[in-house]
Amino acid sequence: MLRFGRGEAAAFEALYRRHELRVFRYLRRNVRNEASANDLMQEVWFAVARSAHSYQPTAKFSTWLFTIAHNRMVDMIRVSARVQGLHAGGDTDSEGESPLDSIAADAKLEPPAAVQLQDESAALLRAVAQLPTEQRAAFLLQAEGDLSVEEIAAITESNFETVKSRLRYARAKLRQLLWEYA
């Protein structure tokens, strides 16, 4: 990031390649809308690029990056007229295609183990999608961002114990949903 701040374009591209999927998955799992996730992704990385000159390495870059992503995502949820739809719309995006459907569409993999794995993965992602917003954000920050409880608390501006509780509840609920699936 510091090299990019000095004008090295290659440094920015390397940075983007390294964090691209993690950030996008975090956004995508939270907003559950492909177009919104793409919009957010662009906003987040534009913000990263434009604030490079003022970036201070006081924390991990990923923490700073996911802080931007989380704040943009929360802003979008707050201002969007479709907030309710995002929460209640399930996994179907604007194009009518769900990522879970994509997993199921890959059924050309050899059965039955692959099919079982895909079913299980789809069930898990569906369970994540059913988590409350705060619990889902905390779980995804931990799972996609590899962030600690302290870092998640800082990003979400929440208490440390609160984040621990959210994570605990999220995992319990996921296990329950998976058990119901099994």
Partner: protein
């Protein structure tokens, strides 16, 4: 992940990551291209702004941590230097302040020729008598200063009115021991004499002037065997037979400290080999007591008794 996370929690996370990898979640190519294009644009702007940035002398000091090393290094060096020189300055400050006053005052005499005559009067004359003429030449004033220094301190303490009768007396008369310390301090703090620099030439002027302002003077130079300083001071009018509070001349101090070169030089410059201190001892007696054969021979060749 917190330490108290159980193995089940870690397994759940692993299962999620596997599921997430299977799900095709990636930004569109258009978004990726836009992001990378924005990154390149910002990078070019940053590169231009960095190259255009004018050199700011304050920027380096503000942003470079090396300035701290430089600052602390300088301060440390100054502290070490102060610790090294403080004892020496302290010793000088406690030295013969009375004679220093006279020595520095002697250096104030402009364009004084070197004292060439070895025949200086014995240190018994009253200074006021010789200062009455009013038309003293610099050399005479120099000798007057020597004589004033040789006057007993009791005379000043007893309120001898003659000591203050003339300007020369005021300038060169020996002050009581208690008052001499403050005089030496004020003399040391004063600026060097203006006329002194014109008397000397070349690079030695500042050095000589600085040395003249020091409280040690010719007595200290003789004691330390600093022949260069002796030459400098005597060449600019320093009294070669000046006295300290015990009535000792530079020659005596050179003898006491075993400085044969200084003894030879002072004798060449007209030091009185038969002058006696307040206890009546002569340089030859001192040299014999200390068994300084070379110095004894030098004094004897100069007519010392």
């Amino acid at each position: 992940m917190t330490p108290e996370d159980s193995a089940n929690d870690r397994e759940l996370l692993e299962r999620y990551k596997r599921a997430s990898d299977l799900a095709p979640a990636a930004p569109s190519d258009a978004v990726r291209a836009a992001i990378l294009a924005e990154g390149r644009r910002v990078a070019e702007e940053r590169a231009k702004s960095v190259s255009r940035q004018p050199f700011d002398v304050s920027r380096r000091a503000a942003n470079d941590s090396r300035w701290k090393i430089t600052a602390f290094g300088t301060a440390g060096a100054a502290l070490v230097a102060a610790l090294l020189f403080a004892p020496r300055l302290w010793e000088n400050a406690r030295g013969p302040a009375q004679t220093n006053t006279a020595t520095v005052a002697t250096s104030n005499v402009p364009s004084a020729p070197p004292a060439t005559s070895p025949e200086l009067p014995a240190p018994v004359a009253a200074p006021a008598l010789q200062a009455q003429s009013g038309s003293l030449k610099p050399l005479q004033q120099d000798r007057q200063a020597s004589l004033a220094e040789s006057a007993p301190a009791e005379n000043s303490q007893a309120g001898n009115s003659q000591a203050g009768n003339s300007e020369a007396d005021k300038k060169y008369a020996r002050a009581p021991a208690a008052a001499a310390a403050s005089t030496a301090k004020s003399t040391a703090a004063a600026a060097p004499p203006a006329g002194y620099a014109s008397d000397v030439s070349g690079n030695r002027a500042p050095s000589a002037r600085a040395k003249a302002a020091e409280p040690s003077g010719l007595l200290a130079a003789a004691s330390s065997g600093d022949t260069l300083e002796i030459v400098t001071l005597t060449s600019h009018g320093a009294a070669v037979n000046e006295r300290d509070e015990l009535g000792r001349t530079p020659l005596m101090l050179a003898v006491i400290d075993g400085r044969p070169d200084a003894v030879r030089l002072l004798l060449d410059r007209g030091a009185d080999p038969n002058a006696a201190d307040h206890s009546g001892r002569t340089p030859l007696q001192m040299a014999r007591q200390a068994n300084l054969r070379e110095i004894v021979a030098l004094l004897q060749r100069s007519g010392a008794r």
